[in-house]
Amino acid sequence: MRIDRIRLVVQALFFIFLIYGGILGFSIGNAVPTMACIYAEDRGGSCFLYPFQRFMSLPWSTLLAATIVPFLIYLGTFFLWGVVFGKAFCGWICPLGFLQDLLTKARHLLGIDGARFRWASRERFQWVKYALLALLILIPMGIGSSLAGLPKLSGDWAVPFCQICPGKPLLPLFSGDISHLIIDFSSPVKLAMSGLLMGLTGLFLVGGFVKRRWFCLYCPMAALLSLFDRIGLIGLKKKGDTCTRCGNCYRACPMEIREIADIRDRKHMVTQDCMLCMRCIEVCPENKALSATFLGFPVFTASADGFLKRHGGQPPLTQEDLPHDTDSNGS
């Protein structure tokens, strides 16, 4: 069984749970570090970022006194989620991640070749997620208290990231709620932000279709989850002395992480954009070169046999058995 197929099933189940779980009264809290959007009515758990931005917009005096206990519980929950699952949220749970993978799947079915980043462009954009993270902390702070003597920001700036997050218009659609697909003319700030959001949502759909996980490269949640890359219970390890640097893992990595193939002298491989999807392990043909670990114990390890099995199918026995039909090859 191929990991990428298992993953799609797991993602679908989590998607259903996170989008519709609330109908049956399920909820796994509001500190879930994944894009389970707060605007989706029937959600079974909700995105960490919304309450986080709300907390950040409280005046210091309130945050550190009256709400300190709920705030710490909230952060602690987030921390536990992060340590146990870490980036696996992105690879296996996130509804927005799942939507992007569905777009990729659709592209495969249509037989359309995808695009890849140039190395330089990909590196150039890596800071974006950290900048968004910084802004989604600083802007709310500027609402609650005045920063560096500047005047306080207006309430229109509240939950700024949610105002531009593609999750907001897209995920409620699954509960039949189209109300977030609008441009809000109520104030210049709202107008700008909602206009931006509509643009970004379009980009999310187009980008996700042509390029695997296009949005994830800019996602501030990934930046947050990176805190747990080294301390998380789930790990991704490399054994450089069996790696041939064949590049299979890099080519198959949805996040186009070059280090996974090129680096040989480092053991720990959960890098800033890695989403623990394990795709690299299943396309690696060298025994033990890559493995996923839980609490340090290997749970899934690359092997030549596994590689061949997953590429399965009865191979044609003679050259004449090669198919003669013609299909589009995009060239």
Partner: protein, 430 residues
Amino acid sequence: MIQIQTDRDQKLTRRLKLHLAMSVREIFDAIALEQNRPVAMRPFDALFMNFAEAPDDILPAKPVKKVGLYCMTVPEEIVYAAGALPVRLCAGSADAAEAGEALFPDVSCPMVKSAAGFTRTGALPFYRQCDLVVIPATCDWKVKLGDILSRHVPVLMLNVPKHKTTETARLFWYDEIRRLCRALEKLTQTRITRARLRASISLIHAAQAEFRRFQDLRADDLCLISGRDAAEVANAWFYMDAASWTGHVRRLNEELHKRKQSGLGVIPKSAPRVLLTGSPVIFPNWKIPSLIENSGGALVCDELCSSGRLLWDMACVDEPLFDDMLDALADRSLMPCTCPVFTDANDRRVKLLRMIRDYRVEGVVHHVLKGCHPYDMELRPLEAELAAAGVSQLKIETDYSPEDTEPLRTRIEAFIETLKGRRLKSGGSF
């Protein structure tokens, strides 16, 4: 390409055919005396006997276009996908090298001389029957080989980026592979479709699966097959079509597996385990493997582009789409290739150290063909690094001619004795 053969040429061709047949028979006469050889080697023997008895029957009799290849950097999957048969033309005949000598400077390697000798004379007909010969511009001799061969056969040169770790190198190579695709499509009038690519990748995967199984069997403590026979199996890949090769190797693997269970090896466990690396070892030049084993060594593995490396690296199908599969094939033929024409020698060092561990190798023999500069250049630093890791090594510089056999034998015997001494000292048993 009609060639007017002069009397001298015809004489040269006749002589080459005769001498080639003699050296082939000599090899198989010696093999016939061996006991205990796996029966499943027969189809391979039959193939190579044809070099003497029926050169016209070496290639499978199939009404498809034949595409000659040099080196390992041309993905055979694409040739199959275009509906043609790939034939690896790298040659190992001393007699053919003599016939090709006049075309090259003295210092060039015997491999190119031999290949040019066969092409020039047509002593092995398939050298001239190829509908296209693809030569990747790897080492300096290959760069010029195309010019020489193109007088006799249509040649397609492929540009190979030598500093392969950069993005420009990859993208460049992806484009070269697409150029190859277009040339092959034109040749066979068959469109390389997504489905055909996918199927030919499976075809090669099946061969690679058997090849890996074969290598695993070679890693056994029992020496289940001689290194020379292993070279024979791998060399046969040059000329057989993928599916029949896979079938023959599958039967061989089954036999070796049975022998493993009944504890039947072909070389005593007392023989020190040797790894051979360096310039290619191609039929009928099995001089070095034979010498190692006749001197009491066991050649358990090799890191040669003519055998151990041949079918190791596997392409992964990530997106089952045309571009991605083509890139996968481009990657698999370039990225993991440990050929010393590439700037980075680290991959080869890591590979060797891994093989030394996996096959429990006791000594490494470096094979450098005279004039093979890439391997020669890489040797010194490599030797130093392996020495630092405590590996016993022997460097052999030779060509295809049997003249230096005796002095080589003396040196190899001395090396094997040293290895035995080392094993004794480290408390190993015989």
